[in-house]
Symmetry: C2
């Protein structure tokens, strides 16, 4: 199959209570991507879209065909994906297959969410629909509770005092806000301190408010192209070199693995193998930090630390620029924001910009980065990993 390149991207600011509709946000990010890629809407042969809550939040399903029409990609095939928080990455993965197969040369992948439109108090209840409706949320087991449980399990499994783990978790959030403050697209552009995290209100013990990512509105888009087309349009093509996906069932079905997410270990192995790289080759990573504990758990399964030790990476600054493996230099879900359908595409957008060396003026460039990793978790069971590379 052909090599597939990310030739450009677009991004709205992520925020709460955006005054724009989902379609407007999606069109803004998509047109941004089209212009940055030096193509026109008529060059787009197919649209792949990620959106989770459009029906709930705005009474708009099937947004993909209206987006295509809105930006002048008339009559193109338009496909939409829903895989909870991993939705956007799944859209990228599938779009890449259609280009790799030789069917299309240039496609648009875009994702959007209006996740604050139903009101923050209801958002946790709404998000819970992406856990198991039989056994989980009817028992009150919403996502803050899921990750609080994982934090307790992590602490006991690896014999880490809970107070120590909470401190490590606080370092995760502090770093995210540090880089978020430099990212003009981020929802939270301000620094915080370990003391502030630990002194914040409890959401679900041991998670405090600043351990949790926000609800967000926003959109992101990337243009994928065949290698041949990419080389004509850019002198900095970035390639999707590896791709992996795996799913688990509800958490009780994973009891013998928790707090490890088994699907992640399977998915990332596929992606590393396909790209011919290992964790030691990753120069920059965007991983799924919906809660601070989620970052620690993810970093271990991705191979960046021994199990039970990833908290030390953040504590020692090994996840910062200049550290062993820079992680979430965008601010991550925590500070950049988490508009579900856009999240994975935003991660791909960020890694692409890092590999192109475009973030110097924002003061958050990982200099010389050649290989990047994207990691997205959907609900309690879908993991998608992508390895991006520049030549």
């Amino acid at each position: 199959m052909r090599r597939v390149s990310v030739i450009g991207g677009g991004h709205t600011r992520f925020m709460a209570n955006s005054p724009n509709t989902g379609l407007e946000l999606l069109a803004e990010a998509s047109m941004d991507a089209i212009i940055n890629s030096k193509i026109s809407p008529q060059d787009i042969q197919a649209v792949y879209c990620g959106n989770v809550l459009g029906d709930f939040s705005e009474g708009q399903g099937m947004i993909q065909s209206y987006l295509a029409n809105e930006i002048g990609c008339n009559y193109v095939p338009a496909t939409k994906f829903e895989g909870a928080c991993a939705t956007g990455t799944i859209a990228v993965q599938n779009a890449a297959m259609w280009v790799a197969s030789g069917t299309y040369d240039i496609v648009l992948v875009c994702g959007v969410e209006k996740a604050t439109a139903m009101g923050t108090p209801l958002a946790t209840r709404t998000f819970a629909m992406f856990s198991d409706s039989r056994f989980e949320y009817p028992a009150g087991f919403t996502f803050p509770a899921v990750f609080a449980m994982l934090a307790h399990l992590y602490a006991s499994h690896y014999h880490i005092p809970l107070e120590k783990l909470k401190e490590q978790m606080a370092h995760v959030s502090v770093q995210s806000h540090h880089y978020g403050a430099k990212n003009p697209h981020a929802q939270f552009q301000k620094e915080i301190t370990v003391e502030k995290v630990l002194g914040g209100p409890i959401v679900t013990t041991p998670l405090q408010l600043l351990d949790c990512c926000p609800f967000s509105d926003g959109a992101a888009a990337v243009i994928l192209a065949s290698e041949e087309v990419a080389k004509k349009l850019t002198d900095k093509p970035v390639y999707i070199a590896g791709s992996g996906q795996a799913s688990s069932g509800h958490l009780a079905s994973q009891y013998q693995y928790l707090p490890r997410i088994r699907a992640r270990e399977i998915a990332v192995k596929q992606a590393y193998k396909m790209a011919g790289v290992g964790p030691e080759d990753i120069d920059v990573c965007e991983l799924h930090d919906c809660f601070s504990i989620a970052s620690i758990i993810a970093a271990e399964s991705l191979g960046f630390a021994e199990f039970g030790t990833a908290g030390i990476l953040w504590e020692k600054g090994e996840t910062k620029i200049g550290g062993k493996t820079p992680i979430n230099i965008s601010g991550g879900l925590k500070a950049k924001g988490h508009p579900l359908g856009a999240t994975g595409i935003s991660q791909v957008y960020e890694i692409t910009r890092q590999l192109r060396g475009e973030l110097m003026d924002q003061g958050r460039q990982v200099e010389g980065a050649k290989v990047g990793l994207v990691d997205t978790l959907g609900g309690d069971g879908i993991i998608v990993n992508l390895v991006l590379k520049r030549d």
Copy 2:
């Protein structure tokens, strides 16, 4: 790319108010497909799922990973699509690409809907989310109104007296019920008459109750495999020989084409070209008859009749077994039912069984059928067409 075969399928009965959950229906159809294909769940390398209203109807998003876990396809990649009523066909189309590319040899495609769970009075309002939330349903323009308008446009554009068109439309529904009565999976298994249709209550002038398909619960599934694997597992492989998709925006953006759906003419051309066939080669067709007028409009764009004349096909019985082009021998959406996420997969299931010659004992076999066409319309703008063939 490799040829992709449908090697087996599964189907629940379509009905109103199913006592089963969406996940149970999906598991039933999927296990049925797995058993009929003489494989085991562990042979499935990836799951592709169609579901539209899972969050609305049951508070269950991301059903694909729970389904994979439920039937023992542990850790496989699980992808879900939403394209309104075309959801299932889009799932088949994308799954086929992953097999054609050589990535997977055996995949499961399954779709489900619990479309009656929110109560029939609310279902039309819920379905309207799959039209444009800016210009259409806020003005009261729900789908019965959309197709009523198309019927009026059709009558005036082709100078057909409305009473004449209503009679032709009645013949469409009568035929669907005729075959639905022979289909054990159909929601309505009883004959009706032209008089009964024309004497029924008005839904939206000129559409009467029996011009409209029902709301349905149900699931369908098919197993796709590479040609090499298919030939080992069945002596009756059916191939996905052609595939096309196109999208339109809201109806006002299509004003210069209506009552023709321009996206259909583009999509079916792609599918015919890829399969190397034309409308004259189609031995049996399942098309998207959400309303009786929709069948007439579709048959023309698919090339089965000159524009403005397709009503005569039904009037003269040319769409029955033995006629020029047998259409909706399953009972169609009208009599078989229309559980959105399952609909397109059910169409593929039906055409596969026709091409395999398996419907003799149900008294609705199109003898010697070799080439079949699937046509699905999503909302007011996505069309997917698939050409299926046996050697």
